[in-house]
Amino acid sequence: MTKVTLTVNGRTMSGECEDRMLLVHFIREKLALTGTHVGCDTTQCGACVIHMDGRSVKSCSILAVQANGSAITTIEGLSAQGELHPVQAAFKEHHGLQCGFCTPGMVMTAVDMINRRGGSLTEEVVRSELEGNICRCTGYHNIVKAVLAADAEMAAGRQAAE
């Protein structure tokens, strides 16, 4: 067993685990943050996407010990209690989710996408950037709409702040 210490959603958290434990299982089972999901075995579906040191990663393909010392943001830490991040609000407004299982990964992906390419997103870019996230419910139509709406809203927010 190895002790793994992470900064998760701004708080330092530790747990003991086998070296073979995946980061996603560490987050779900040791830290009891079950918003991050597992939907495949082959690094494809993206239900497990979190941010590690500020970048989106698939937590199902990283060992918890690999992440030791990292800063992690999960879906639970994206917004303050009782509030929604603009991306979360846009998913609700545009019905970008149905069963909700892929949703945490989709939202974390969208936030990362806007962090990297915000203000320049088009439908084509969003669809291409979603290559690593599979949704079986929505046909992606409303997810694309939600990401574009959130991007526009956040760009307007940045402009207003300037």
């Binding site: 434990m21 939907g39 495949c40 075995d41 989710l97 069963c99 909700g100 079986r136 929505t138």
Partner: protein
């Protein structure tokens, strides 16, 4: 229409928990002392088990116990069943082979469960599962239905000689043959409906908890119908009597049919919890899901469609062979019969129809209902045939369809169904206009100038939803009734809980059901909670599948609300010293019509519970239950148009536009309905272009056992969709609604294939139309 009532685009009440990571799915459940299960599964498609040795596995670190099928049988756990009896045309009942939850004599598909390991961690459970030693005598395997029917094919079950489960027919064979003989033109085609894996993003999971002190079981499970699960596990599998078994389906991450069925894992984990004395959790991984979740479709059909000299369809003859896999899953017999052949009239007035369906065992995972369930197969068959006929007859596909549309309702088809309402031309016109069908030729020309082959195709579908009248399905062999229940509980301060037997796993019932109540009573939607998915809370229900929750489940809520309103009016009339006939309910108040005298809703509720001042003889409380059994199926219908560009160099198809025009009757929440259509379209497009379950025909190994090989539709495979709704309200239920969950998956595959065959200039193409297959179809014939 209020801002929160029926017809309003209300954002979903359930979204916040999903968006903030607070959804509660089965695999999120943790209980004290919980241990992890791993199933030992057959690596062979067909084999006899000579021996099972668990001694090494039991000695592995962390292992609590390893249990096998002999122990399960000794404890009296029964076989898995198919709940719908179908008889062959000779009158004999279907031939159901035994399906043991844990096989101990014969395994019949790769993934067949043999033993369960319970251990401290999932890793240790899997380590030990690999250490279970099984001595197999391998047998030859067969995976394709037509091959399984051949003489000399490997035989799966002694109960079913020749692997034939039943040989069933519907319609009038003689009248059909006579009409074909007299026809001016007969279109003949052979079609394969490809086998699919449902792949909800949440893999199946279950947590079995046995409480020795109470002799009581709790089963958390990823189910679309927890009450049916309890009923079947209790009545047939002998897990526990109903009063000793609580089934909870919490948040469920999609189902699409695959989570209707009761699988071996739920049963075995409950039993294992009793055997080991610890709660046992099992979570499928994706490869296990491919291996063990019921698949969908897998038909091979021969079709003859006969026309008179005026291009009217005078007969349809269909011969279908359906692959049901290694065992008969819960509703497997109904899918290629009563959910398929009864829809073969489509939107068309066809005087004579005959369909023959043979169902077959193969060494593959069981096949059962998957989004659309039988209706996509019927629609694909009819709409490809209709398109082919139009090309052969040299008439426009739209005009050929238009000429044959049913125009008067009710309409009795020759294959059981009685269509209650529809306006097929309205959807056809709307779709053609939205797609600018008339402007296609110029778009094709400009595509050709860019080196692309452009094609356009349509599909006019009908489906039967809201299943269905209990007496009718009972007469056709169903083992259960298909009504729904509802309970409306008004609390003392006027807030409301609605308990429903429908189950939401993405459909948004917590919003739409609340909209119904908010609209009726004029109370805030936030004062209404929808309760579902727990057999300890909701007394009984039939669950969610077949687009039935709106038409059947919400109708039950309407009936319960009628009773609640009637009692509330009596109380209000008593409080205001008025006649109850004069009381109306508006904006959260009960009012004497034509006056400004009102009593607020919460006050009526309070009066019902304080019971200080109720009409003489009235029982206190305000809570009513209703069971709703529909009088007929509902019949959503519509027209879909796909326009594609094929890259002749690579064979890759790009969908340049996809138009859907649907008649779902009245709509509760357009935003949610559109979402259902989008998702259905994606699955239909997936079937047409990407998805295919592929077993190695020689070894029976599943070659598409992960997303590395099974092509799931991704965002860049799909376009944005253009939707519209037409409305002929359903006369059969109080809300006039038909159901929208499956239409997209039903109507889209033939529209796409018709578009691609239009683009490539010939009809020799099977689903999925992968780049390689389309490229091959474009090469000069050798």
């Amino acid at each position: 229409m209020g801002v929160e009532g029926i017809g309003a685009r209300v954002a979903r009440k359930e979204d916040k928990r999903f968006l903030t990571g607070k959804g509660r799915y089965t695999d999120d459940m943790v209980v004290p002392g919980m241990k992890y299960a791993c199933f030992v599964r057959s690596p062979h498609a067909h084999a006899k088990i000579r021996s099972i040795d668990v001694s090494a596995a039991k000695a592995m670190p962390g292992v609590i116990d390893v249990l096998d099928g002999k122990q399960l049988q000794a404890d009296g756990i029964g076989n898995l069943i198919c709940g719908w009896m179908v008889h062959s045309k000779d009158g004999s009942p279907m031939k159901m082979g035994a399906w043991r939850p844990l096989a101990h004599e014969t395994v019949r598909y790769v993934g067949d469960a043999i033993a369960i390991v319970v251990a401290d961690s999932s890793g240790e459970a899997r380590d030990a599962a690999e250490a279970v030693e099984i001595d197999y005598e391998e047998l030859p395997a067969v995976t394709e239905a037509l091959s399984a029917l051949e003489g000399g094919a490997p035989q799966l079950h002694p109960e079913a000689p020749g692997n034939l489960i039943f040989d069933w027919q519907i319609g009038d064979p003689e009248a059909t043959d006579r009409a074909i003989a007299s026809a001016a033109h007969v279109t003949e085609i052979e079609l394969v409906n490809n086998r699919l894996s449902p792949n909800p993003m949440e893999p199946r999971a279950t947590l079995g908890i046995y409480d020795e002190a109470e002799d009581h079981y709790t089963c958390y499970t990823t189910s679309q119908n927890p009450h049916v699960a309890r009923l079947v596990m209790s009545a047939f599998y002998n897990v526990a009597p109903e009063n000793k078994l609580r089934v909870i389906a919490p948040d469920v991450g999609g189902g699409f049919g695959s989570k209707i069925y009761i699988y071996p894992e739920e049963i075995v984990c409950l039993w294992a919890s009793r055997k080991t004395g610890v709660p046992v959790k099992w979570t499928s991984d994706r490869t296990e899901a491919f291996l063990t979740d019921a698949h969908g479709r897998d038909h091979v059909s021969k079709v003859k469609m006969a026309f008179d000299a005026d291009n009217r369809v005078i007969a349809l003859k269909v011969d279908t062979v359906a692959n049901l896999g290694a065992y008969m899953s819960l509703f497997s017999s109904a899918v290629p019969t009563y959910l398929y052949a009864t829809l073969l009239s489509g939107q068309y007035a066809i005087p004579a129809i005959h369909a023959n369906v043979r169902t077959v065992y193969t060494n593959t995972v069981p096949v059962d209902a998957y989004r659309g369930a039988g209706r996509p197969e019927a629609t694909y068959l009819l709409e490809r045939t209709m398109e082919t006929a139009a090309r052969e007859l040299g008439v426009s596909p739209a005009e050929l369809r238009r000429k044959n549309f049913i125009r008067t309702f009710p309409y009795q088809t020759p294959v059981i169904m009685n269509y209650d309402a529809g306006d097929y031309e309205a959807s056809l016109d709307a779709a053609m206009q939205a797609a600018d069908w008339a402007g296609f030729d110029s778009r094709r020309a400009s595509a050709a100038a860019r080196g692309k082959k452009r094609g356009i195709g349509m599909s006019c579908y009908i489906e039967a939803c809201g299943i269905a009248p209990s007496a009718a399905v009972g007469s056709l062999g169903a083992g259960v009734g298909l009504w729904e229940s509802a309970e409306v509980r008004v609390n003392a301060v006027g807030t409301i809980e609605v308990l429903t037997g429908s189950h939401s796993h993405g459909q948004g019932h917590e919003t739409t059901f609340a909209q119904l109540v908010a609209g009726r009573l004029g109370v805030p939607i936030d004062s209404i909670n929808i309760v579902h998915g727990d057999t300890d809370k909701v007394q009984m229900g039939m669950g969610t599948y077949g687009s039935r929750s709106g038409a059947v489940g919400m109708s039950a809520v309407v009936k319960a609300l009628d009773k609640v309103e009637a009692k509330a009016k009596k109380i209000a009339a008593h409080l205001m010293e008025a006649d109850e006939q004069d009381i109306v309910i508006e904006n959260g108040e009960l009012k004497i019509a034509g006056t400004d005298k009102t009593v607020p809703w919460f006050q009526v509720a309070l009066a019902a519970y304080t019971a200080h001042n109720l009409p003489v003889g009235m029982e206190p409380g305000l809570k009513e239950t209703a069971f709703y059994d529909p009088s007929n199926f509902t019949f959503p219908a519509g027209c879909y148009i796909a326009e594609v560009e094929v890259d002749p160099e690579t064979g890759k198809t790009e969908i340049v536009q996809f138009v859907a025009a649907d008649d779902f009757g009245n709509i509760i929440n357009p935003m949610i309905v559109e979402g259902q259509v989008h998702g259905g379209l994606a699955q239909g497009i997936g079937q047409a272009l990407l998805e295919n379950v592929h077993y190695d025909p020689d070894t029976g190994q599943l070659l598409t056992a992960s997303f590395m090989d099974y092509a799931m539709p991704r965002a860049d495979d799909l376009p944005s969709f253009t939707l519209s709704h037409q409305n002929t309200p359903c006369p059969g239920n109080p809300l006039g609604i038909k159901g929208c969950g499956e239409a997209g998956a039903i109507g889209s595959p033939p529209a796409l294939i018709n578009a691609i065959t239009d683009a490539i200039g010939h009809n020799r193409l099977t689903m999925p139309a992968t780049p390689m297959k389309v490229w091959q179809a474009l090469q000069p014939a050798l």
